[in-house]
């Protein structure tokens, strides 16, 4: 049985379609990533899967239960780590976790053992008696992960688990996730807009403007692009784009402030470029395919472009989701 099964899931707010009929499955034991710019519909989708908001169309099953009709069953089987903190900062770390155990009805006989286990995993056992308000952002996020695991969920949802954290904490969190897939019988569903993090997933779905563009493993996606990305800096970008089209039959565009295009073999192309472009080039860089390129290949823009474009929309979504 799949851990998550989604069929034609939709969510609209009035005239705005935040999620436009997405369908996918997540296999049992998989680490599945939702990759897309802010405002692409990631958080809306995850909120529907977690029974926080009701879909306006389609259906979804999580851990074998329908997210609308069997809401409490779904909730019993999932763990959640939100983008925004949801800890009581006036309570200690342990009090926060004990509150969670009671609320989820964790059997009393296992609470102590499980509590210690999850707190040791995120290296906060020594700080269990400290109030959460004395914790750094990274420690809070680690505590939230421990809390999300306390009731042994079958599916753990992580909404942007590493956003706003320092690189050290980010890699620590990835360490826990890798440890989890070894030690626990769990499926992990996460959203991210960091390309380098999506690489850790077994499979990723690229989502843009509320639609899934492609789903595959990171390797397969990179192989599907197959081309190197070349970025050049010139004094006249428009003339450079025109010249590229005319002399090399290459479609280029301006992304991240540089003329960007894809060619089969970048290293061999660059010498020709300098010889034949007929314009002064002030800088050049060649990249092997990355998930950035995959994203660009499938959506026609880099993730940063997409975020700037949808910034306003994202603000609105977040405001709606925050309750």
């Amino acid at each position: 049985m799949n851990a998550v099964e989604v069929t034609g899931l939709e969510k609209s707010y009035g005239k705005v379609d935040a999620v436009k009929g997405v369908s996918f499955e997540v296999a049992h034991g998989e680490v599945f990533g939702f990759l897309g710019p802010n405002g692409a519909g990631k958080s809306t989708t995850i909120s529907m899967l977690c029974t926080l908001i009701n879909p306006t169309g389609g259906s979804a099953r999580v851990a074998g239960h329908d997210v609308v009709k069997e809401r409490d069953e779904v909730r019993r089987n999932i763990g959640l780590v939100f983008q925004d903190p949801t800890l009581d900062s006036y309570l200690t770390a342990e009090q926060n976790l004990r509150f969670h155990a009671e609320l989820y009805g964790v059997p009393r006989s296992v609470v102590d053992e499980r509590l210690r286990q999850v707190m040791e995993m995120v290296a906060l056992w020594d700080r269990r008696d400290s109030k959460v308000q004395t914790f750094s952002g990274g420690m809070k996020r680690r505590l939230e992960i421990a809390r999300g695991l306390l009731h042994s969920p079958r599916v753990l949802f992580l909404d942007e688990p590493t956003v706003g954290l320092d690189p050290q904490t980010r890699s620590a969190i990835w360490g826990y996730i890798n440890e989890l897939r070894r030690t626990e019988d769990i499926t992990i569903f996460m959203t991210t807009h960091y390309m380098d993090e999506a690489e850790y997933c077994d499979r990723i779905a690229i989502i843009d403007h509320g639609e899934i563009v492609v789903i595959d493993s990171p390797e397969a996606l990179k192989a599907s692009v197959g081309k190197d990305r070349v970025q050049i800096h010139t004094s006249d970008d428009q003339a450079a784009i025109a010249a590229l089209k005319e002399r090399f039959d290459v479609d280029a565009g301006v992304h991240d402030g540089a003329v960007t295009f894809a060619v089969a073999s970048g290293e061999e192309f660059v010498p020709r470029l300098f010889a034949e472009l007929g314009l002064p080039i002030t800088g050049v860089s060649v990249h092997r395919p990355t998930l950035d390129d995959v994203f660009m290949n499938y959506t026609g823009s880099t993730i940063r472009d997409a975020e700037e474009e949808s910034g306003g929309m994202n603000q609105m979504m977040r405001a709606r989701l925050r309750r």
Binding site: G29, C50, T51, L52, D72, E73, R75, R76, L80, F82, D84, P85, T86, L87, D88, S89, Y90, L91, Q95, R98, F99, H100, E102, L103, Y104, G105, V106, P107, V110, E113, R114, Q117, L150, H151, S152, R181, T183, E184, D185, R323
Partner: protein, 285 residues
């Protein structure tokens, strides 16, 4: 993928026992918050003490001759008791808005537990906290000439608990739709001050002009204050005339309501408000 050495947790599927656990933990958190928050404890005591000893003493010197044999402070004591409980209960309800602002409400609302258990836990917690605050004022009874009679103390405690529960339910219903503290406190001030002023906490309900009489009778808080006053006056030795003047009870077209009936009114209002608050949380999640 075997889960060796892992304390595998199997959650029971709902049921009353789970709901009771949820009510208890939400309640316990309210108590913990109250015990840890010393500023709140002190600040919500300042107001009743000012009313009782400063306003009570000041006004008392004017009205001294009008009420022979009774200190004005003794008269307003049950009113101040009610006021303490009401203000603290409203503050407790405010914690829901606070929880929403800081995200913790979400942690509660995504749990596999009924909304009813969470709202009930909040209201019971608020009621206990408010009653605990009232106990401090209760301890000062001797300073204003109210006897420390065990029956009186138990009666007042029960009445405070009931009033506090109803007010917390009211506050929770208000808080259900609020997104920030400023709005809540604004609305709270607007609701609480007129309700206290129109409840007979500061003045007797006898011989009022018709408009004020009507307003006091339709004010639900009046039904929470009067039982406390009746309880206190039941344990004082005062002239029958003064008693009639200061403790006239609540009258509906000349019929004096029995205390038990007033308490039933408060309980029914509390129950209805609680149901409305639960319904509100079911809708807004």
């Amino acid at each position: 993928m075997t889960a060796t050495e892992i304390a595998a947790v199997r959650l029971p599927t709902g049921g009353l026992a789970h709901d009771v656990r949820a009510v208890k933990v939400v309640l316990r958190r309210e108590m913990l918050r109250f015990v840890n928050d010393h500023t709140r404890l002190v600040s919500s005591l300042a107001q009743p003490i000012l009313f009782l000893f400063v306003l009570g003493t000041g006004l008392g010197s004017i009205v001294k001759n009008a009420i022979p044999g009774l200190d004005y402070r003794t008269f307003i004591y049950p009113g101040v008791l009610a006021m303490t409980v009401i203000t603290t209960a409203m503050f407790s309800a405010a914690s829901i808005v606070w929880d929403r602002e800081f995200g913790f409400l979400r942690e509660m609302l995504v749990a596999p537990v009924s909304r009813g258990a969470i709202v009930l836990g909040k209201c019971l917690g608020g009621a206990l906290v408010a009653t605990a605050q009232g106990v401090i004022i209760l301890a000062m009874a001797g300073l204003v000439g109210v006897p420390y009679d065990p029956v009186l103390i138990v009666t007042l405690l029960a009445e405070m608990l009931l009033a506090a529960f109803t007010i917390t339910a009211f506050g929770t219903l208000l808080a259900a739709g609020m997104k920030n503290m400023q709005t809540f406190f604004g609305i709270m001030q607007m609701a609480i001050m007129p309700m206290i002023f129109l409840s007979g906490a500061m003045y007797p309900l006898a011989n009022l002009p018709a408009w004020l009489h009507v307003l006091t009778v339709i004010n639900p808080l009046t039904y929470a204050v009067d039982p406390m006053r009746e309880a206190v006056f039941g344990h004082l030795t005062v002239d029958p005339q003064v008693m009639a003047l200061l403790n006239p009870g609540i009258n509906w077209f000349g019929w004096r309501l029995p205390v038990w009936f007033e308490l039933v009114i408060v309980a029914v209002i509390g129950f209805v408000l609680l149901q409305l608050a639960i319904a509100r949380f079911r809708r807004t999640e």
